[in-house]
Amino acid sequence: MSEPPSTPDAIHSDAFLARLMRDQLKLSIACALCFIVALVALPLLNYFQPAFMAQRVFGFTLSWLILGVLFFPFVWIISFVFIKRSIALEVAEAQAATKDGAKR
């Protein structure tokens, strides 16, 4: 059974650790879902709405524009958001831990 740690190094309790891991995993899954939805939706749109996806936008067809050009910036945005928030989570955790330690 879990025994409450009594030493000064215990500022990182299991609760802290588990929460950080859970938050990071949640963030990863949210970002992955965002990407997967786009990946699944594009062929479906091509399949069910061929006329809509074939309309011309700047000379490309809509589906060509999305897949050949716009998809790249889309994943850059996801990865940028992920990294920013993932690092912010860790920093917040470190700050909370230090504050908690100082109180003791």
Binding site: T7, L39, P43, Y47, A54, S63, V69, I83
Partner: protein, 642 residues
């Protein structure tokens, strides 16, 4: 072999366009030069295997991108877009976006595990020597198969640039240059070469296409020259001159719309093989749903295949820590995303202007559109410009073969020298011996690859590689599994506590500490890196029992059989006998001798000497945990008891 090659070269040099010859040879010579330059910089085994774990985000991202953009990306993607149209766009998109999964789930934990090679990771994670052997086989298998199209590309391109040179000449030149580089500079040298070659490739793919597009018409104009099924007349601007398509080329509406030739290939084949007319009719009626299915399976295969490439994964070990590994992945996605916008442009313009390529197959047909397009300028009164630009694209193609082959060679060499030699054949080898093994392994693998391909007169087509990329997803589930079971690992949990007490040496940011502590007897821990006794009488602390979370349960794969064994059980392990009682031992992965404080008592020597790393490579839950937290703890001075 080199003498006839040299004379052939000189004889051929007079016949080819001087700009093409100059650019190609310059790429080769610069690469060789970098190899010699970096030879002086790589000194120890760490430099050779993981570039001293000190590669910055920018360099590593450029190097990974350079390694990743192979001949297939440089020439094959353009060829496929030209040959099959819209559906081929999934290739560049999934190659670039597959890195997202690497970023979200793999990069951080993988780097924090602190191993040297992928087999190291496999064994350490599952505490099983068998896993190392399986992983070595995979790395070598994938490496050799992936080398094949690179070598094939090198041979055919050189034969295209210097007509008259035999196929094997290109294989020998590219193979020899890279083998030399790897054996001279190892991972550190290759990092430099690959980063340089990324920028060379981007230059070689963008500059010619911008110049071309300004003369013959832009990307979107050439796309709009193909009319869709919903248009009666193509909406191309008047300045686009389009040549008539040969009979073999796909029709406009098939080419530009989804579910075209590429995705119906499989169902067409089964229609041809169908036994009865009814079966044929049924397949024919369901052609479009099958295409949708094909598209999805293509996406899954490409995205997962990207995340499992061993020669890419191993590069993450060259980053200093997990956060740097994540940042690197983001920059890799940006760098290769920028690159991958351009090959389809070649394909589209090639369809309008060089439709004669449809009549030939593979490397003589659409696959050479990237090399072929710049030469069109010669016919438009820009003879010099055309030569310079085709010189640049040829240089880019050379960079593509060389950088990918170098990455494959490093990962295969690492597997042989570190895992087969350093772990299986001769576990008590010194770092110097393993360094020598690395150099020899590089030469041997390079020679084997060259001789295998030089003798092949036929190989697979440039984009034949995509087929086996589908099959190499094996490391992705492994790494994902790593994430999932980490939470239920109670054996590791107590070590997590042990780790938290272990004093970190200042400046050491490596997360190796996560698994560097092992249980000794019942309640004593010793940090493997610092050699400190972590709990027990000398720390004056009450021995602690099991401290896993109440819900934690051991995972079946992580049997805790190595706990609580009498130390003498390991004393027969010959690789530690020499270190017994000396107060220092070899760190199992970092090739550094670690010295213990002298006051550990008589039994310390035994335990130290009796350690058996492969039984004690321990994954601590929370290894996906930023270095920043631990550093905060360390800086605030609370991380240690001993």
């Amino acid at each position: 072999m080199s003498l006839p090659l040299a004379s052939l070269f000189l004889a051929e040099l007079g016949k080819v366009d001087p700009w093409i010859a100059i650019c190609s040879l310059a790429t080769v010579f610069v690469t060789v030069g970098m190899g010699f330059w970096s030879a002086g910089k790589s000194k120890n085994a760490g430099d050779f295997f993981v570039a001293g774990r000190s590669v910055s985000v920018g360099w590593n991202a450029s190097a990974i991108s350079g390694e990743y953009l192979s001949a297939a990306s440089f020439m094959g993607v353009a060829g496929m877009v030209m040959a099959t149209g819209y559906d081929a766009l999934w290739y560049p998109v999934c190659y670039a976006c597959g890195y997202l999964f690497l970023l979200l789930f793999i990069a951080g934990p993988l780097r924090r595990f602190g191993a040297y090679t992928i087999p190291d990771f496999a064994e350490g994670r599952y505490d099983s020597p068998l896993f190392r052997k399986i992983a070595v086989c995979f790395v070598l298998f994938i490496g050799f198969f992936y080398t094949m199209p690179q070598m094939k590309g090198a041979g055919t391109t050189l034969a295209y640039i210097f007509p008259g040179l035999p196929y094997w000449a290109g294989v020998v030149v590219v193979g020899a240059v890279i083998t030399l580089n790897v054996s001279l500079g190892g991972m550190k040298g290759i990092t430099l070469v690959q980063a340089f070659q990324y920028w060379l490739k981007v230059f070689a793919i963008t500059v010619p296409i911008f110049v071309l597009a300004s003369i013959v018409g832009h990307y979107e104009d050439h796309v709009s020259a193909n009319k869709t099924a919903f248009e009666t007349v193509a909406s191309a601007p008047a300045n686009i001159e389009r040549k008539a398509l040969p009979a073999k080329a796909p029709k406009d509406e098939q080419w530009i719309s989804p579910f075209g030739k590429l995705t119906t290939k499989a169902v067409d084949a089964s229609i041809g093989a169908a036994p009865t007319p009814e079966a044929k009719a049924a397949l024919e009626a369901n052609k479009k749903p099958f295409s949708l299915l094909y598209t999805y399976s293509l996406i899954i295969a490409l995205v997962c295949g990207t995340a499992g490439l061993p020669h890419i994964l191993v590069r993450f070990y060259t980053n200093p820590d997990g956060v740097a590994a994540k940042r690197t992945t983001m920059w890799v996605m940006i760098l290769i995303g920028v690159f991958y916008v351009f090959p389809p442009v070649y394909g589209v313009i090639g369809r309008s202007l060089t439709p004669e390529l449809y009549d030939a197959v593979g490397a003589k047909g659409t696959d050479k559109v990237v090399l072929e397009l710049p030469t069109l300028l010669a016919g438009k009164n820009h003879a010099l410009l055309g030569s310079v630009l085709s010189g640049i694209t040829c240089a880019g193609a050379f960079a593509a073969f060389m950088s990918t082959f170098s990455g494959l060679l490093v990962s295969m060499t690492g597997a042989l020298a570190h895992d087969v030699y350093g772990r299986m054949l001769k576990p008590d080898s010194t770092p110097e011996q393993r360094l020598r093994a690395f150099k020899w392994a590089a030469v041997i693998i390079g020679a084997v690859s060259i001789s295998r391909h030089a003798s092949r007169s036929v190989g697979n087509q440039l984009h034949g590689w995509s087929g086996f990329r589908h099959r190499r997803c094996q490391l992705l589930p492994l790494a994902l599994h790593e994430r999932l079971v980490a939470r239920y690992d109670d054996a590791g949990s107590s070590r997590w506590h042990a780790w938290r007490r272990c004093q970190r040496p200042a400046g050491d940011h490596d997360d190796f500490h996560f698994r560097c502590c092992r249980r000794w007897g019942e309640e004593n821990y010793r940090c493997r890196s610092t050699g400190r006794l972590l709990a027990g009488p000398s720390c004056g602390e009450k021995p602690r029992g099991h401290v896993g979370r109440p819900s934690a349960r051991p995972h079946p794969l992580r049997a805790t059989r190595h706990l609580g064994r009498p130390p003498l059980h390991y004393a027969h392990d010959r690789r530690f006998q020499s270190h017994r009682g000396q107060g220092s031992w070899r760190h199992p992965h970092e090739d550094a001798r670690v010295t213990c404080p002298g006051s550990l008592g008589p039994e310390a020597g035994i335990h130290q000497g009796a350690r058996r790393p492969r039984r004690s490579l321990i994954r601590i839950p929370g290894a996906d945990y930023s270095a920043s937290v631990k550093l905060e703890t360390w800086k605030s001075g609370r991380g240690c008891l001993c």
